[in-house]
Each structure stands twice: as C-alpha cells, then as structure tokens.
Symmetry: C2
Subunit: 406 residues, 2 copies
C-alpha cells in the first residue's frame, strides 16, 4: 500500500530544494539549505520543549499562526540561540531576504538553524549566499539540501514514500539531521537539535495534518536518545501543497490512517538513521519495555535504560552487564516490582522474576558483540509497552564533544 | 567550634574497625570490612530510592526497625543485587555469622554490599574471612575498613571531627566509597552505590539522629553526580553509641544545630572526595543555581547542568561552550526565562539577561583549563539557590565502564 520511493523532500509534486556552501562552516561543507513549494502550503510544526529556545523556534511559531507556509530556509554551523535581540533580528532577516528572493510573504518562510549555541550568526554570509541558493533550486535538490543541514552527522538522511488516496497518487518526503545533543521531546507547538522537514503533495485538512504530525513524532523522534541532552533548536516542519489533487483527507477516515501510517514510517526510518549515525556510535540498540502498568511507565523505563551512561558504556564494551539495565529500570520512576522483572538480551532471558537465569557467558558476549542489539524489559505488571532507540557511549563520542568548537 | 581531627570511623570513643582480603576481588585487594561499637547504638539509615534494591538495603531496613545496631559488615566486589532469594539468604548469613562471631543479636548487625549487579555473592569466601576480620578489629582500623569498601575508587575516603557539647568532647567520624554509578537520591528510609558509614559517640535522641541525617544528605550526597545512574545499593548508616556521656542532644537546640553542622561538614567533605575520585575524572566542578523561583527549581537546574553529558564533555575538553549550560538549564524542568538568564564561568559573566557578553576566548579557555571550576547560573526569577558537584566525562570514564567486569 505504502511504497518506498527514491528521493527525499523533493519527491512530492511541486517541491524544489537546494543546498550550498555560504561559509559558516570552517570545513567549507554545505551549510545553507532551502526547500520551496510551487504553491502555498498548509503547514504545521512541532518544536523543542526546552525553555531556552533558539530564535528560529520562536519566529516559526509566530509564522505558523496562520498555519500556512511555502518555504524553509536553514543554516547549519550556528544555532543562533542565546544571541539576544540581534539573534532575533538575524532570524527575521533570513526570513525576509528569502521571501524577497522568492517573491513570497515573509510570514510564509520558516527558518531553522543548527550548530553552536551562543555565537553570533554570520548573517552577512547567509544573505550573500541566498541568490546562488535560490538560483539553484531544482526538482532533484533533496540531496544537496539534506547535506546542507548536517552538523556532526556523517551521512545525509532522507526518505520518501507514495500511496494512493482514491485514484490519486500521494507522495510524502523528508530530509532530516541529528547525531548529538539528541534527546528530542517535542510538543505542539512546544517541544528536538534534530531537524526534519517533511513535504507532501497531499490535500489534507489542517487539523488532520497537525494531528498526523503529533501522532507520528511520539513513537519515532521522541523515542530516540543519543546523549540525553535536549536541544534548544529541535523542530519538525511539514508542508502540504495539495498538488496531488486527492479528495481532502480529514481525521477519522481510512485515508487519514493511511497518511498517518506513511508519515510515521518516514519518521521512524529517519529516527533510526539518526541513531545509526549518532556521534561516536558503534551500535544500534532497540529497547522495548513491555507489560508496564501504564503507557507512561513503559515510556519512562524505556527512556531511562536508553539514556543510562552505564548501559551505553557496557554496550560499547560488548559487556552484557544486565545489572545496569535493572538499575536504570529501577530509577526510571516507573512502577517496578523486582520480583516480577524479566530481562532479555537478544533471544536470551538473563533475569526472570527477579532471579538470575544462568547463561553461558560466551552466548551473551556474542549478543553484545553484534552491531544491532535488542533488549526487552518485561515489568510483569500490566499491558503497556514502549520502544526507544539508542546508541552506545563510546570514547569517540567524548572526543567529538570535548572538541566540538575547535 | 568544630575541629577536624585525624582518623575516620574509629575516631569516636568505643568504635573499632578492620578490613581484609577475603577473595571476592580478583585483584586481591581488600574486600571485606567491619565496623563495631563497644556498646549498642542508636542507629539510622538512608537508602537508595531505586525501586530495584539490593538485598542488603531491604534487610537493613528490617534490622533498623528498632533503631538499634552495633556493627556494620560490608563486602566490595559484588553488589548482591538481583540475585533472587539466594541473594537474600546470603545477606542474612552475613549478618548472622557476623553476629555470632561478635556475640551480638543478628538484628543489630547491618550489611552492605557494592560491586557488580546480578552475580551470586561468594558467601563462602566471606564466611571463611570473618574470623580473621573480627580478630583484627582495632581502635585504628578505619584505614583498613575504608580500603575494603572501595570498588573503582582510587583513594580511601574518611573524615572525623570533634566538638563540645557542654563540657563533654563529642566526636563524629566516617568512611565512604563511591566513584561511579553515582547519582545518589537517598531518602529515609527509602533512597546512593555510594556507601557511607558514620560513627559518633554522642548521646542523641533517635528523632534528632534521624533528623540530622536527613538534613545532612540533601546538600551533600544527594547533590553530587558522576554519571546520572542511581545505584541499587546506596546507603548512609549512622551509629551513635553515647559513650561521650554528653547531655542528650534533642531537636531544636543549639547542641542539635552544632551536631547537624558537624555531620553536614563530614558528609560534604566526603561527597567532594567522591567527585574528585570519580571514574575518569580530570575536573572538580561546582555548579550553583541562584535566584530560582523555588528551591525545587534551583535543585532541578543545578542537577540538569551537573548531569549533562555535553557540559561534562566540554569540561573534559577545556572548551568553555556555555551554550550547553544554557540548554541544560532550559530542559531541566525549572522555570526559566531566557531573557533573565545569566551564566558565569569562574569570575567571568558570559551571558547576561539572555544576551552574550563578549569575552576574550583566551580568558575563558584558561578558566576551563583549571582543575577546579565554578559555574553559576542565575535564573533572575526568585530567591532560591542550590549547588551540585560533578566531574567531567572523559574517554577514561567510558573505558573504565565499558570493561568494568573484565
């Protein structure tokens, strides 16, 4: 029903993108991206729940008050956060200059920034880069745009799918970045520095678009962690230009559920890509907590295990030290009865109802030596489950983040 | 008024201690400790708030129901946690065998364990070591006992003070361990693996003893973090044998305040010693949040900054990347207004009322290159303050904890 197709944010009809080097990054890698729709879009966003928010987060919330947008301009290499009133002026300049070059209204341009916090944004470089950026916009520009939003990421992250609504083919595509300062807790319109820009040519009501986005992020972006540090700049933006000319998608219909499924699929693939590309990561780890007393408990416990430095160090060291998993579960805040606690590493149960199940060390070592590891924590208290995705904590993570600005 | 004196847990009148190698640690370092009072003591304890608790935590709560104890036996190298019913039997065996050797009642012996979680306790080695341990008890045994409770700690931690109550000289001493899985949140009788055993010869009412302990831990042990991982075995135990023959100390008196001050001084010195000896640590960092709207907000913000992996990596890298401090403050859960936020590194204000204060990079680099670093976050919202103590996150921390069991 839902088919994965080639391309990212430019796969849906009517979207162009581009990405260039404007000179913010000393590395001379691409650092300025633009995504534009041919037509004005219904738009929605979810933002970091950090109380210290970058000016782009604040400005976008304002620009989204009419739920309309047509372009997203994004720089990497500088977060433009905690830069005072000049920071806000710079964000507004990015929006208004982009609008002028595109012949749009300023309020229909959304802005994103990612990089170092607390440094003045080199706005002159951005403004000088805009003509080249706009000139280069094209129907296959997703690769360049995806490259230009990266910071410490090693790989670009994009994904697109298509499905039918009635007889119309609807497409949905996205680009995404994020590998550190990654512990998104996004809310609407409150709460990741992860950035994700989603485009679709679907015709969809605003309520349905917003609801689909809010549902999609919980089990995807809000269920990943690299280092437990929630960013000041996290955002997911979605633009729907209606050019697929399908019958309007509204809530509580099979078409809405299909749209939600497609959006969640795209978000989940991108969320997993972020973990696979996490700073210093050598492992991809899926942690499922099941039989929790409440859904909140399931989520708390999965997040605690996924965020535990000690669990993550054990994963890096290929040491199946499951006692640390038990400890993290115990301090998560979830209801836990140690006598009902069961822990499974890969296919091996190592703890059952609070008692150690003796297993051959070589078997457990093998499981933890793999690149992809699955951990299941069964609380034995109820019927609720949650899954989180995390990386290991490596010496390279520390190296990358102890010299991030140098 | 309060004088620091030589000695640790055996400094107060009537306490003996000893520590030996019984063979739990492969390294052949000391791993079995005993502290004994000549007389039955009033006793109190605070324990980890982790819902997964080692059997020693559960057994001690039971043994402390009559608020009396005379001895503490402690092994290192094995946490005896998540070891099922056999684990509980082993803890009870440790207590009863120690009681038998000392001619005490089992319920007057407290037990502590620290080390790997989920491995069967080598109880036979412990029982075989007890005769030597008891035989070696002496008035200067604090050094040996302090050594025998260590795990990854590089140094022993002990402290003693004396002060006068009326004309009587009262002493208070302690030994302590902890360098990783260190994020104590102890409650009474609910909530560190930090272990601290405090002895005093004061005559003090049980209510006053318990109240003094609960007050002392908040600004000391509960205000430190190494890795954010709360242990299953944390505990602070205090024994008061009354041999100083002072007039009984009761709450709401100048003597009680003096006792509290002495206890808090001992706990703070030991808490700081743990951070200085933290796994892989190269820095000692003091984070004060002030002008918070509530005391809980002050505490939340200080804990968040102290626990942030990114802040701790920046400290390791000597990179004064204060944007990470702002981000951690913002996601702490405390009320934060970015426009009122001020951040100070050492004596240098780098952010004032939400705007960057430009400082010479070399000055800031110098501050972060120091071994002792003070960070102040001023929320500008109220009158409450809190201080937390933390270490940096080094490549060595990851190495130590990725190979902890090997």
């Amino acid at each position: 029903m839902i088919r994965i197709i080639h391309g990212g944010v430019t796969a849906p009809t009517g979207f162009k993108a581009h990405g260039i080097t404007c000179g913010i990054k000393r590395s001379k890698k691409k650092d300025l991206a633009l995504v534009v729709s041919d037509k004005l879009c219904d738009a929605a966003g979810v933002f970091t729940s950090n109380k210290v928010q970058a000016s782009c987060v604040v400005v976008n919330k304002d620009h989204l008050r009419d739920a309309k947008a047509q372009a997203i301009v994004c720089n990497s290499g500088n977060a433009n956060c905690m830069t005072g009133e000049p920071g806000f002026e710079n964000t507004r300049s990015m929006a208004s200059a982009t609008a002028r070059h595109l012949g749009l209204k300023k309020k229909n341009v959304l802005v994103a920034s990612t990089g170092v916090i607390g440094q003045p944004l080199p706005i002159t470089k951005i403004l000088r880069g805009l003509p080249e950026l706009v000139k280069g916009l094209n129907r296959h520009g997703s690769d360049d745009a995806a490259a230009a939003i990266l910071t410490t990421d090693k790989q670009t992250k994009q994904m697109a799918v298509e499905f039918n609504v009635g007889k119309r083919r609807v497409r949905l595509g996205a680009i995404c970045k994020g590998s550190g300062m990654l512990h998104p807790q996004m809310q609407s319109p409150k709460h990741a520095t992860m950035l994700c820009f989603v485009s679709t040519d679907a015709v969809i009501s605003h309520a349905a678009l917003r609801s689909a986005l809010e549902r999609a992020i919980e089990k995807t972006f809000n269920s990943i962690t690299v280092d437990g540090d929630m960013s000041t700049n996290d955002m997911v933006l979605i633009l729907a230009n209606g050019m697929a000319q399908n019958r309007v998608i509204v809530e509580k219909t099979p078409e809405f559920r299909l749209f939600c499924k497609a959006l969640e699929m795209v978000c989940l693939v991108l969320a997993k890509q972020m973990i696979k590309d996490a700073e210093g990561a050598t492992k991809f780890v899926e942690i499922t907590v099941r039989r929790a007393a409440t859904s909140e408990d399931a989520r708390l416990a999965a997040k605690a295990v996924a965020s535990s430095n000690l669990v993550k160090c054990a994963l890096f060291g290929c040491d199946p030290n499951w006692g640390r998993i038990a400890a993290a579960t115990g301090y998560s805040g979830a209801s836990v009865d140690p006598w009902k606690l069961t822990i499974q590493l890969g296919r091996e149960i190592v703890l059952k109802n609070g008692g150690r199940v003796k297993k051959d060390a070589s078997i457990l070592n093998c499981i933890f030596a793999k690149k992809n590891i699955r951990i299941v924590v069964d609380l034995g208290l109820g019927k609720y489950a949650a899954t989180c995705y995390t990386s290991d904590l490596s010496t390279n993570y520390v190296r990358i983040n102890s010299a991030y600005r140098t």
